[in-house]
């Protein structure tokens, strides 16, 4: 609860940070050339150009295929996983909770690379499989593989939402059904599933539009056979015409936003609808887990198999690849072991800088971002006026913009706003882009922490004579300290994981590991990519370990 003036200032700054880059993208999309060129004039020719390009249409088709395909895979699997984890006596449930969430925190570009070195034509697992069975039945570079991998790696997102919906579902409504004469199966069919269906619908929309935005996996897995999706198509446009083809990229981005923005609004509406059910939950917190009997070993096996494919295979592939000089059929692992790739990384200044920068942006940048999110959170905390609702919408907007595009828009802002230009090749520009891209995520963390503070504690502060600002400083913020620490750790992991947002901001001085990997991958430097990928995962892992040590909940 800030006073009016600072409150307005925060909201104005926020609106500017979100709408200015977004406006620039849309404005750029209706120009005939890059907006800094004097000859550029209002026109729709950029749209005409891309709509005329068969690659655009094939990318659009592939994008829909990926989005639909991965929803079809991820939603049922994630929902079943949630049900098994929350409601049954599966052995090792506590122990499985963390590994299940790992795919969320591994950078997709790292993951994609991991699949290449594990399951690619000369990947570790492919070679071993071939030696055992004489052939490999999969082709990691096909569109189907991309869809399956995207689907499997998004299972945790679905799991997250459905498991919290299932936990919120008071067991009393299920017990009432049991008492009425329903078997456990009928209870699931008639009560539990209908009651969590709003959450499933919500996460369905989420996965669908994440499918629209995925970049790392198709960039790495789609390239060899030329499978483009809209984001990789946009990325390829960078050099298509020789000159900066900003207007074309903006047109593609506008097309993507035209799909994702309505989906974000739909999600918001669905969330409102879902809350109607949540508010109905009973008090009874006791739950007797459903006995799986012999089925539990099957369920356990399936979860382990899924973990093997989505975590063990890519991660172990990267770890191995980073310590061998070469790999292929007939190569003896022990003979090719080496630490050269790490030496190479630590001998080159840009690499060292990218590691230092990544750490800085995660720790310091993460803390700054949490501070910013907190300021925004306090402007809307327990206020239900027009300004608060406005902030609600601003916060959601960046979700509709793919990170790659947001990074580009921020790049433009820093390129052409005179007083910002000196900051362009500093880490500040990267931090700003990250903070905007992850605004919605961070705000959810902050808002759920703020909601934990009982309103009467703040009201008591007011009544004993504290102003709004004093109540924030002396009561609200100290009480959410733990929540802020948790938010900082989660933001740290997310910022370490981020890659696409930094791609267009990559310049000497602003290197971060994720963007560096994307650029090195294009130049074919597999050895260094492997070492950097491992370092990247190690950083995320440290964040995860600290978060678990402090008991930070990885989900709500």
């Amino acid at each position: 609860m800030l006073q009016t003036l600072p409150r307005r200032a925060v909201v104005a700054l926020l609106a500017l940070s979100v709408f200015f880059p977004l406006g620039l993208v849309i404005y750029q999309s209706v120009l005939s050339g890059p907006f800094f060129m004097p000859a550029a004039k209002l026109s729709l020719e950029s749209f005409a150009f891309i709509f005329d390009d068969p690659d655009f249409w094939s990318a659009a088709k592939n994008t829909f295929a990926v989005a639909i395909g991965m929803s079809v895979i991820a939603i049922p699997l994630g929902a079943i996983l949630a049900f098994i984890m929350v409601r049954t006596d599966l052995p090792g449930r506590k122990w499985l909770e963390t590994p299940i969430l790992i795919p969320i925190f591994v950078s997709p570009v790292v993951l994609g690379f991991g699949y290449v070195v594990s399951l690619g034509p000369v990947g570790f697992f492919s070679v071993w499989f071939q030696e055992l069975f004489g052939g490999v039945p999969w082709n990691i570079y096909s569109l189907a593989s991309i869809i399956v991998i995207a689907g499997l790696t998004h299972v945790p997102h679905v799991y997250l939402y459905s498991s919290s919906a299932l936990r919120n579902l008071g067991s009393d409504v299920e017990e009432a059904a049991r008492l009425s004469g329903a078997s456990p199966f009928r209870v699931a069919r008639d009560v539990s599933i209908p009651m969590v269906s709003p959450a499933l619908l919500y996460v369905g929309v989420l996965v669908f539009f994440l499918g629209f935005e995925i970049f790392g996996l198709p960039l790495i897995l789609g390239d060899p056979e030329g499978h483009l999706v809209l984001t990789t198509y946009l990325y390829k446009l960078t050099n298509k015409l020789g000159t900066p083809s900003y207007h074309l990229m903006a047109a593609v981005a506008t097309c993507i936003i035209a799909v994702t923005f309505p989906l974000v609004l739909l999600q918001r509406a669905l969330l409102k609808n879902a809350q109607r059910f949540v508010s109905m939950k009973g008090k009874s917190a006791r739950q007797r887990p459903l006995m799986l009997g012999p089925w539990k070993w099957l369920a356990f096996g399936l979860i382990l198999a899924w973990l093997f494919i989505t975590v063990v295979v890519p991660v172990s592939g990267i770890a191995l690849r980073s310590v061998v000089s070469s790999w292929g059929q007939g190569v003896n692992l022990l003979e090719v072991l080496t630490l050269d790739h790490f030496h190479a990384v630590f001998e080159e200044n840009t690499m060292i800088r990218s590691i230092i920068n990544s750490v800085l942006i995660g720790t310091l940048g993460g803390a700054l971002a949490v501070g910013g999110y907190l300021a925004i959170g306090l402007t809307t905390h327990r206020k239900n006026d027009g300004l608060s609702r406005f902030v609600d919408y601003i916060v959601l907007t960046p979700r509709a913009i793919p990170g790659l595009m947001a990074g580009l828009a921020v790049f433009w802002v820093f390129l052409f706003v005179p007083f910002l230009a000196p900051l362009r090749s500093t880490l500040f520009s990267v931090w700003f882009a990250y903070a905007v891209v992850w605004l919605a995520y961070g705000m959810r963390l902050i808002q759920s922490a703020l909601m934990q503070v009982g309103p009467e504690l703040e009201e008591a502060g007011r009544l004993v004579g504290a102003s709004n600002a004093r109540v924030s400083r002396d009561i609200t913020v100290p009480l959410v300290r733990n929540g802020l620490l948790g938010a900082w750790l989660l933001i740290f992991m997310i910022f370490e994981r981020e890659y696409s947002t930094g791609v267009y901001l990559l310049s000497p001085g602003t290197e971060v590991i994720g963007a560096q990997i994307v650029s090195l991958w294009a130049s074919g430097a597999v050895d260094v990519v492997a070492a950097l990928s491992l370092i990247n995962m190690a950083l995320v892992g440290i964040g995860l370990a600290v978060a678990l040590r402090f008991g930070v909940k990885l989900h709500d």
Binding site: V173, E175, A176, L179, G181, G282, S284
Partner: protein, 355 residues
């Protein structure tokens, strides 16, 4: 056990981990009878009710309904909740938010494969019985707390279970509604000739609603009996203390004469009362007298003592007097306002219990 017994719980024991919650509880419910499970919070009332319903897992004892064993640890019988055919009204009502009132009530019949036209007729009959007929098409969140409670009762009654279990049925209503609902619920149960087991932590609610009360304390039954027995003949200090508004004073036994004893209280008063303890002369004891039994007297006499009236409080239907006696605050009721000052207070010997 007579054949009028419809629910019988025998030596039931239940633990959470190594933590015993029910330590061997036995009870009976007769056909057409209302029994209350009364006790302080955490005494295991809800757990006992849920164990009868099949929602908790006891490890010892047995539960029989209408002659059919639904749980028997020795014989390894444990009928699942959905096959026990019991009605349970949840404290939180537990209405299904995605079903209308009609569908909520119809669901048990649907599960029992009742024909559709009979379902419609029986659900409407049940709703009408509870004055809910006009709300059939509403969703639970469109109902008031009292209406939700009635729906959950209708849902538990619609399939004519032999026993209906109610967990704190009135606790989610506000104070004024609670008294009306209490009368309404008692009347409903009696009229429909239901056999009901009701959990409550409120002693006046238990006395008003039930034919018999079981007072639970720490997982065992402390005492059971009719409301008048429980109120007028408490066997232990716990029961005396729990069932009513009391004056409680500590002291030492001064003299014993058969069933009576004299207690010399720490506040200086000596009174005779009914002996409910085996403590010998000189040992510590407590004197308990209901607030309504203590009364003002004109002059000194047997079991009368001079105390300091501090204030008279108007309670609407009566006055409450507050006295100082040594370090104790004593209370009694009367019909007039009394000015502060020295007064004689009588603690009748047949109303004082010495534990």
């Amino acid at each position: 056990m007579t054949d009028k017994t419809i629910l019988s719980v025998d030596n039931l024991a239940l633990s959470y981990g190594s933590n015993p919650i029910l330590k061997g509880v036995s009870m009976q419910l007769k056909r057409g009878e209302v029994v209350s499970l009364l006790g302080p919070s955490g005494s295991g009332k809800t757990t006992l009710l849920r164990a009868v319903a099949g929602l908790e897992q006891p490890h010892h004892g047995s539960v029989t309904i209408a002659g059919r064993a639904i749980y028997d640890a020795a014989a390894n019988i444990d009928i699942p909740a959905e096959k026990r055919d019991l009605g349970l009204v949840f404290q939180s009502y537990a209405l299904w938010p995605h079903k209308t009132v009609f569908d909520n009530v119809a669901y048990p019949l649907k599960l029992r494969k009742v024909a559709q036209n009979e379902i419609v007729q029986r659900v409407h009959a049940a709703l009408k019985n509870l004055g809910l007929d006009h709300l059939a098409e509403r969703y639970p969140h469109q109902l008031s707390g009292g209406q939700q409670q009635r729906v959950s009762i209708a849902r538990a009654l619609v399939y004519n279970p032999p026993v209906i279990l109610l967990d704190e049925p009135l606790s989610n209503l506000d104070a004024k509604m609670r008294e009306e609902a209490r009368a309404w619920l008692r009347n409903l149960i009696v009229e429909m000739q239901l056999s009901a087991l009701v959990v409550t932590h409120d002693q006046s609610e238990a006395m008003a609603m039930s034919d018999r009360i079981l007072l639970l304390n720490g997982g065992v039954i402390e005492q059971q009996g009719t409301p008048t027995d429980m109120y007028g003949q408490p066997q232990t200090y716990f029961v005396a203390d729990f069932m009513g508004s009391n004056n409680i004073m500590t002291g030492r036994i001064g003299d014993i004469k058969g069933g009576e004893a004299r207690i010399d209280l720490d506040n200086g008063i000596s009174v005779w009362g009914l002996r409910r303890t085996n403590a010998a002369i000189g040992h510590e004891a407590k004197a308990v007298i209901r607030v309504e039994q203590a009364r003002l007297a004109d002059a000194g006499g047997h079991n009368r003592t001079e105390v300091d009236l501090v204030t008279s409080m108007f309670l609407g239907d009566r006055y409450e007097y507050v006295f100082h006696a040594g370090k104790d605050l004593l209370r009694s009721w009367g019909t007039r306002h009394e000015a502060p000052g020295k007064r004689w207070l009588e603690l009748p010997g047949d109303a004082v219990w010495i534990f």
